[in-house]
Symmetry: C2
């Protein structure tokens, strides 16, 4: 199949497929005489794997690492589990950071109501004075 069909069947843009190839995440496929890329079912699976990883916001580097593990099926899988644990820890830390941020923003917002002049806006005041944490 050509790149357009692969793109449609996995739900990505053709540019993204070429990008993954350049980054070494998708093996370079054979070419037709006219230079068009020709993909197989294995490419479909490989691309779908990448996409599922990306939905979970694994980085391309992490996906690369997972692909290397796939090439050594008889090694222990601890490294994979650890990779995921680290990723989960990072997501949790992001959530925590954003929750702190949300509190700060809500508190700032509470210092103003509508119908003031900008001169007296509590939000702008809070940002202008150093009364922030």
């Amino acid at each position: 199949m050509r790149i357009g069909q692969l793109a449609r069947s996995v739900g990505v843009d053709t540019q993204t497929i070429r990008f993954y190839e350049r980054e070494g995440l998708l093996p370079p496929p054979d070419r037709q005489d006219n230079g068009y890329r020709i993909y197989t079912e294995r490419h479909v699976e490989r691309l779908a794997f990448i996409r599922r990883c990306r939905i979970l916001e694994l980085s391309l580097a992490e996906i690369h690492e997972l692909q290397r593990y796939q090439g050594a099926p008889h090694q222990p899988c601890r490294a994979i589990n650890t990779l995921l644990d680290d990723h989960i820890a990072q997501v949790r830390s992001q959530i925590t950071d954003l929750q702190v941020l949300e509190k700060q923003l809500v508190s700032l917002r509470a210092s103003c109501n509508d119908d003031r002049e900008i001169e007296a806006c509590g939000v702008l005041d809070g940002l202008s004075e150093g009364s922030m944490q």
Copy 2:
């Protein structure tokens, strides 16, 4: 004061200050005969304002907008409050997204324990098969 002292007094890199100037967030300061930038207390306040906004993860575009409002002190401040409301909404949406992500990741992680071979790794299996949402 010169750029290094400004940088130290606000806690940013000198490069960042020049970057803000290029982006139109900091007004271009006067120059000494040798070309060195000379800053005033107003620049300190202005830069500190930007930094407080950035800590709240307001974008440079949003900060720019706030600066424009500062120039019109007798207009109603509703636009400012709305800007903040929108930003809060976006932070909340990020939190929600990350919480969904965390659940998916934890569920995937639960499908494996350590001491398996990669061949049998539940995490890799979950990523390889289409049993994901």
